[in-house]
Amino acid sequence: MTLFSLLISPFVDYGFMRRALVATLAIGLSSGPVGVLLMLRRMSLVGDAMSHAVLPGAAIGFMIAGGLSLPAMGLGGLIAGLSVALLSGLVSRVTSLREDASFASFYLMSLALGVMIVSLHGSNLDLLHVLFGTILAVDNSALFLVGGITSCTLLVLAMVYRPLIVECIDPGFLRAVGGRGAVFHFIFLLIVVLNLVSGFQTLGTLMAVGMMMLPAAIAQLLSRRLTTMLMIAAASAVVSGYVGLVLSYYLSVASGPTIILVCSFIYILALLFGPNGFLWRMVRPVSHNL
C-alpha cells in the first residue's frame, strides 16, 4: 500500500470517516479564527468555561433524543451556554463580582448539573461520548448543522469584524462613534457557543474548545498580524483535524483527544521553532534592528 492510499483510504472506504472529515474541516475553519479573537479579547478561559457550561443542556438533549443527536444536544447546549453567559454578565453588572469570577461560579454549577443528569439517566459510556465525542454518530443532519454554523460564523465575523476589534482595543472610541460594545460582545459569545456546539460530535464538549484555543496560540506564536493569525489558526485547526482523524483510525483511539493532541504537537513545534520560539532565542541573540 502506498503512502498516498494510506492517507486517503480511510475516507474512501468508509462513509462515516468521510462525514467525520467534512465535519472536522468545517469546525476547524471557523473555530480557529474564533479562538484567535477570544484570545485577543483576553477571554481564553471564557471559552473553556463555556465548554463546560454547555454540558447540562447537551445532556438533556442527549436524553431526549436517546443518543448522540447533534441538533437536540446543540439546542440544549446553546440554551445552557447562553444562559451561563447572560447570567454571568448580569451578576457582574449588579454585584461587585468581576465577570470572570461569576463565569467560574456559573460554569461549575452548570458542569456539576450536567454530569449529574448524565449519570442519573445514562451509562458511563454515554457520559464519555458526550464529553469526548464519537465520530461514528456524524450523520447528514449533523453535517448540515456543522456546515451551517461554520458558514454563519464566518459571515457574521466578517460583518462584525471592525466593531468587534475596536471594542477590544478602544471601547471608548466605539461608544463615541455610536457603537454598542455590549451588542457585539454578545454576538461574539453567541458565535463561541455555536462553535462549541458544532464540535460536540467529533470532538466532544470538553475537547471542542481545544479546536479554538490551540490554533489561536499557534497563530500568536507565528505571526503578529491579525489577518495572518486568523489564517494560520484556521489552517492549523484544519490540518490537525485531518491528521487526527487518520491517526485515530489507524490507532483505533478516540478521535477528539487525537485531534487535540495533534494540534498540541503543532503548538509545541511552534513554541520551539517559531520566530519567537525557544530555539531561535538560543541560536541567535535578540535583534535590535529596526
Partner: protein, 246 residues
C-alpha cells in the same frame, strides 16, 4: 448659528450612591479652547464621559446642532489595549468611521487622509508599525492622527499629555492651535497649569462641582486652586476609591 457649541445645565453624575460631579452648569463656545483642570479624582474624566454620553447623567446637555459624529474623542491612553496586533495605519483609518461605518471598506480618500495625518503628526512611514512597538509619545501622535482624519468640529481630549515627552507635547500643542485657527472647539483635561496658561484661553476648574469657569487668568488663581483641593479632600477618600472601581 449661536456662539455656543455645547451647553450644560445642572449636570450631575453618580456612580452607584457615590456622587462624582454635582450641579455643573456652563457653556463651551464655538471655536474656544477650554482646559479642564482639577485635583485627581475630582470628576474631570467623568465630566467628559457625561459630555460624550458615555455615562448616564441628570441635568441637561445641549449639543445644539452637533451630532455624535461631529465630536472627536481622545480617550486616556491607559484605556487602550496596545498589545492588540493592529498597525498604526489601521488605527488612524478608524478616524474615517463616519464615512465607512461599521462595515464599509476603507476608501482611497481615507487612505490619503491617513497618510496626510501621519505626516502632520510627524510619523511619516510608520504606518506599517505595530502599535505595540511605539513609545507613549508616538502612540499619542497616532491618536491625534486619528482625530485629524475624523475631521470633527468639537474635539474632546482626555489627558492628552499625561506621561508624554516634552517634544511630543510641543508638536501636539501646535496641532491644537491649528484646530483653533480652523474654528474648531477643543475641550481638554490637563494637569500642567503652565501649559494651560500658555495655550488655553479658557479654563474650567472642576472639583466635583464648578470652582471656576471662564478666562484662564481669572480661574487659575491660588484662592480657587486651594478651594478645589480642599473640596476634593473633603469629598473623602472612600469616594475616590469607589469611583476608581466604577
Amino acid at each position: 448659528m449661536s456662539s455656543v457649541a455645547i451647553c450644560v445645565d445642572d449636570l450631575s453624575v453618580s456612580y452607584g450612591s457615590t456622587p462624582a460631579i454635582r450641579g455643573v452648569s456652563g457653556a463651551f463656545e464655538h471655536g474656544s479652547l477650554t482646559a479642564i483642570a482639577g485635583p485627581n479624582g475630582a470628576g474631570k474624566s467623568t465630566f467628559l464621559k457625561a459630555l460624550m454620553g458615555e455615562v448616564s447623567a441628570t441635568g441637561t446637555i445641549d449639543r445644539g446642532a452637533l451630532k455624535a459624529r461631529d465630536i472627536g474623542y481622545l480617550p486616556q491612553a491607559s484605556s487602550i489595549d496596545r498589545s492588540f496586533p493592529i498597525t498604526v495605519a489601521d488605527v488612524v483609518c478608524l478616524g474615517a468611521w463616519k464615512h465607512m461605518g461599521f462595515f464599509g471598506g476603507v476608501s482611497s480618500k481615507a487612505t490619503i487622509a491617513m497618510r496626510q495625518a501621519l505626516q502632520d503628526v510627524g510619523l511619516v512611514g510608520m504606518g506599517d508599525r505595530h502599535i505595540n512597538a511605539l513609545s507613549v509619545g508616538q502612540f499619542q501622535r497616532v491618536l491625534f492622527a486619528r482625530l485629524l482624519v475624523q475631521d470633527a468640529k468639537v474635539l474632546v481630549l482626555d489627558e492628552p499629555f499625561t506621561a508624554v515627552d516634552s517634544r511630543t507635547v510641543h508638536d501636539l500643542t501646535q496641532i491644537i492651535l491649528k484646530w483653533k485657527q480652523e474654528g474648531r472647539t477643543v475641550i481638554a483635561v490637563l494637569h500642567d497649569f503652565d501649559q494651560i496658561r500658555a495655550t488655553f484661553p479658557r479654563t474650567l476648574l472642576l472639583s466635583h462641582t464648578v470652582i471656576g469657569w471662564g478666562s484662564t487668568k481669572d480661574v487659575l488663581t491660588d484662592k480657587n486652586l486651594n478651594r478645589a483641593r480642599a473640596l476634593a479632600e473633603q469629598w473623602g477618600e472612600s469616594t475616590d476609591q469607589r469611583q476608581y472601581l466604577a
